[in-house]
Symmetry: C2
């Protein structure tokens, strides 16, 4: 038994139930959007009683914010964490792209990226969900900019590269991919995304 | 009086009313999404009775599809039509980009591009709205690809340029712009979009 095992606290029954509920909530949000995520739709999907769900989430809004947090956790785990295994620089950026393109499938989210969906829903609706999404968007940009910065530090990208600009263009490829995938299917959309990424790398290369 | 004036049919009162209702519907859809566009919310916004609105649109779905058509009409009029005044080739592509970046403002759509919003809502919800949006997306790609094709024909883009690939990348800039605008405001987002466009032009230039 190692130290991590000794100190790891076993999740309580309540924590386990909450995790299961949130997983179901992310599924609903992915397919129908966060506005359709209510205590009612969640009760239907999980088979739990509304009052039982109210014990975990006091309101629709609280549930939506918790589901967004859970989606972001899943995204980080599926896209960013595995990319850290790739060496910093271009190989990590490429890993990030590849993980991103198929994470909804790997995560069994039939409705596509739930964070993309959330940002589309709340972009122009002031309130706690919009605030949470803008915060997520900032974090995402910061992490992408960092990944680009590392490719400058490894000497793969030119020294005078504007990392935030490259991050904008990197994100643009992912957004266009998700849009194109609906119309043309995964293969062609992924081919176009990879080709756009190759051009991105080529023009900023040192 | 010229021929166009003689043959132009004056809109009937019913057509005028319908146009006013649809303008209000696009406003609602832009800000709250198409799912929030119901006979009820529309009655509130226009001050018309629900039964009066039912006379124009038999159902929520019929209303949503009509509002999407109207949004597409406004988009074509604000983005594509004026770009036709620019000479074919790179100057027209650039005009397209510029018109696109500020058309929600010019059109007084405080909630941003309603078609972008619709595609976000229905991407993964099978039904008539999703079908209509995929059809719009195809048309949009076709028109953008044509505009790129013209820049190949003028000799501005290299002869072996993959026009559909460039159209994908052109659309990616617009999508990233709308996302970035929410976080960073119009000026910085437009600066990044223009810079991405300049790189696009530079790498495909003949």
């Amino acid at each position: 038994m190692n130290a991590a095992q000794i100190f790891a606290t076993k999740p309580t029954k309540g924590e386990e139930t909450r995790a299961q509920i949130l997983a179901a909530a992310v599924q609903i949000a992915s397919q129908l959007g966060f506005e359709s995520l209510t205590i009612g739709t969640l009760a239907e999907k999980t088979g739990m009683s509304k009052s039982g769900l109210f014990a975990h989430f006091g309101s629709k809004l609280e549930l939506q914010v918790a589901a967004l947090d859970e989606a972001a956790r899943q995204f980080t785990e599926a896209v960013f964490m595995p990319a850290l295994k790739a060496p910093r620089g271009l190989r990590r950026l490429k890993a990030l792209l590849e993980n991103w393109l198929d994470w909804p499938q790997r995560q069994k989210l039939p409705g596509g990226c739930p964070i993309d969906s959330a940002s589309r829903e709340y972009d122009h609706r002031p309130g706690p969900m919009r605030d949470a999404i803008i915060e997520r968007q900032r974090l995402l940009e910061r992490e992408c900019t960092k990944a680009v910065q590392l490719a400058i530090e490894t000497g793969e990208f030119a020294r005078d590269t504007d990392a935030a600009q490259v991050a904008f263009e990197f994100l643009s490829i992912v957004l266009a991919f998700f849009r194109s995938e609906i119309v043309h299917g995964h293969e062609l959309a992924a081919k176009r995304a990879r080709s756009a990424f190759a051009r991105l790398v080529e023009t900023y290369r040192a």
